[in-house]
């Protein structure tokens, strides 16, 4: 049996009387391709925030690579290999594409606190950033301001920033959100090309993408895990179809 990289044990979160998540048990193994789905307001974003350390759970524990990180801050979890992308782009809009990736890579390689050597002389950082951009076919626009790119390619930069952190676990929050269908194949290609050894959790509404990508699916409803299984199980589960798939574009 493979080792869990990210694990939630009985995790829950209440905001006063509001229960946003309760009793979530979840694990993500090495090389996993896992999808998290659920109707609006099911607590998907809360779940991601609990895993990444933006929120502290009011019950349960979170483990990253075998260690209890429940009380550990977001920045430290990133250092230990947990990276995420955002549903709505959070890019360094005024900077070039290369600089957008330079920043996380500099953090990852420990270059960022340096005040004396020019950023341009850290060839190791620039090379690593350029290599990532080449993988995502962004090398030709590396010098462009990121805000000048079409939206689909901005979404790729969003993924590139997370990959720049050399993560063990990558959480993709609706990577194709807002991308016009003419461009969505570049996102699919990028996701298909993610390194096999990192565990990926994708939160997505696009059922096409989910069923193409995931080898396991968790359905979240009302802050609780409603069902979990292989794509086949989930597609065949009548309750899931009634609650979720029935309302979606795809059946």
């Amino acid at each position: 049996m493979s080792r869990p990289l990210l694990e939630a044990r009985g995790v829950g979160k209440r905001f006063g009387a509001l229960v946003a998540a309760s009793d979530i048990n979840f694990r993500l193994d090495v090389g996993a391709r896992h999808a998290l789905i659920g109707p609006n307001g099911a607590g998907k974003t809360t779940f991601v925030n609990l895993m990444t350390g933006v929120l502290t759970p009011t019950q349960g524990q979170v483990f990253l690579d075998g260690e209890d990180v429940t009380a550990i801050a977001q920045a430290e979890r990133v250092k230990r290999g947990l990276a995420r992308t955002f549903q709505i782009n959070r890019l360094f809009r005024g900077l070039s594409v290369l600089e957008n990736v330079y920043i996380p890579v500099a953090e990852q390689l420990g270059a960022a606190p340096g005040m004396v050597r020019p950023a341009g002389k850290r060839k190791d950082v620039i090379d690593a950033a350029m290599a990532l951009l080449e993988k995502l076919r962004l090398q030709d626009v590396a010098a462009h301001k990121v805000s000048e790119l079409p939206y689909g390619r901005q979404r790729l930069v969003e993924i590139a920033i997370a990959l720049g952190l050399s993560p063990k676990v990558l959480l993709l929050d609706e990577p194709a959100a807002g991308v016009p269908s003419s461009e969505s194949h570049i996102i699919l290609d990028a996701i298909a090309g993610l390194p096999k050894d990192i565990a990926v959790l994708i939160i997505e509404h696009d059922m096409d993408l989910v069923f193409r990508f995931a080898d396991r699916i968790t359905v979240l409803v009302g802050g609780k895990i409603f069902a979990e299984g292989t794509p086949k199980d989930i597609a065949a589960n009548a309750d899931v179809r009634a609650i979720y798939l029935g309302q979606a574009t795809h059946g």
Partner: protein
């Protein structure tokens, strides 16, 4: 696309960094042909206007002060309206030591001012930089006003409202006398210090640390998400900036041979902010252009319209705010970009 070579570490080194798209980042810290220009002009001023060196010294000091503000406001995006606090701390540190006969050597005086201002920047930054936006603006303002009031009340030390009027400074290096009436020493001394201060700021903004400051300015939430210790970086930057502002204040005290509450006032804090916005913030040379443009303009407007000169400044500021958000340097950048037929690759602000 194989999986193994995706990670940030295993890369074919030579090919990537020589990619043409990396050119602007790889080369941006290199000296450009026009960069010696401000220094040539500053030395030219020394020979051309020997009777206006006092005014020149004041301009150079404001350039240094504006540079320190550019580091926090232009690069790190810390919105402050109280930067004169550090200017005043530097000025009073040097002034009090000299007035009370404790220490009058000028160069070590600057170091003392820098350390005192940096410590104050560090301590206040630890508290202030938990906040952002309007809250931060009001807190920086109120700390400065508290200091101003403290300077007013601690009369025994600070001279209160009258200030310190007998700040006599020893000759620079034991050789060059400070003479407030014919300030050749002051001008060259301030120019040298400005040059060093500029090199410090330039080195920082082009470093990976500087890059991470711009990251904080552009998207602080993302900086948290990439694991950057955001508040620590901001506090360090704030303390460095405070030290430079403290040196600027100390230079002001040394060259004028007095210190008064104007060094700590909202008027000074607002002036340096206007200078930076006028010249162009986040642009390194905005401080130079802004300080010279503001002070020359203020000087001539005050001569022409002694009662209403600030109206002219106000109109000019409105023009900048409405039509040239990136200041005078921004206008020049746009013109150059238009001549080359493309938009500038980098920029802040709008």
């Amino acid at each position: 696309m194989s999986a193994a070579d995706f990670s940030a570490k295993s890369v074919d080194t030579k090919i990537a960094a020589s990619h043409p798209a990396t050119w602007s980042l790889v080369h941006r810290h290199r000296l450009r042909w026009w960069e010696p220009l401000p220094w040539i002009l500053a030395i030219g001023y020394f020979f051309l206007f020997p009777n206006h060196l006092g005014f020149g010294t004041e301009m150079l000091i404001m350039v240094l002060f504006a540079l320190s503000l550019d580091l926090v406001l232009g690069y790190a995006g810390i919105v402050t309206l109280g930067h004169a606090a550090f200017f005043g701390i530097g000025a009073y540190a040097v002034g009090m030591l000299a007035q009370h006969g404790i220490w009058s050597e000028p160069i070590s005086g600057l170091a003392i001012a820098a350390v005192v201002a940096a410590i104050f920047g560090l301590l206040s930054g630890l508290v202030l930089l938990r906040t952002t936006g309007l809250t931060l603006l009001m807190l920086t303002l109120s700390i400065m006003l508290l200091l101003e009031e403290a300077a007013n009340l601690a009369q025994e030390w600070t001279g209160g409202y009258d200030g310190l009027t007998d700040v006599s400074i020893s000759p620079v290096l034991g050789l060059f006398e400070f003479n407030p009436l014919y300030p050749t020493t002051q001008y060259l001394y301030v120019l040298c210090v400005l040059f060093i201060g500029f090199l410090v700021v330039r080195t920082i903004v082009y470093s990976p640390f500087g890059e991470s400051l711009t990251g904080i300015r552009e998207n602080v939430l993302r900086m948290h998400a990439v694991g950057a210790p955001v508040r620590k970086r901001l506090v360090i930057c704030y303390a460095i900036s405070a030290a430079i502002a403290g040196v600027a204040g100390a230079l002001w005290a040394q060259s004028n041979a007095y210190v008064n509450m104007s060094t700590l006032s909202l008027d000074r804090a607002a002036t340096v902010l206007i200078i930076l916005v006028l010249g162009g913030y986040g642009r390194l040379y905005g401080a130079f252009v802004g300080a010279v443009a503001y002070m020359v303009l203020a000087h001539y407007l005050a001569k022409l319209y002694p009662t209403a000169w600030q109206l002219g400044l106000g109109l000019m500021l409105m023009t900048i705010a409405l039509f040239a958000r990136n200041g005078i340097i921004g206008i020049v950048e746009n013109l150059l970009a238009r001549r080359r037929g493309k938009a500038p690759a980098q920029g802040s602000g709008s």
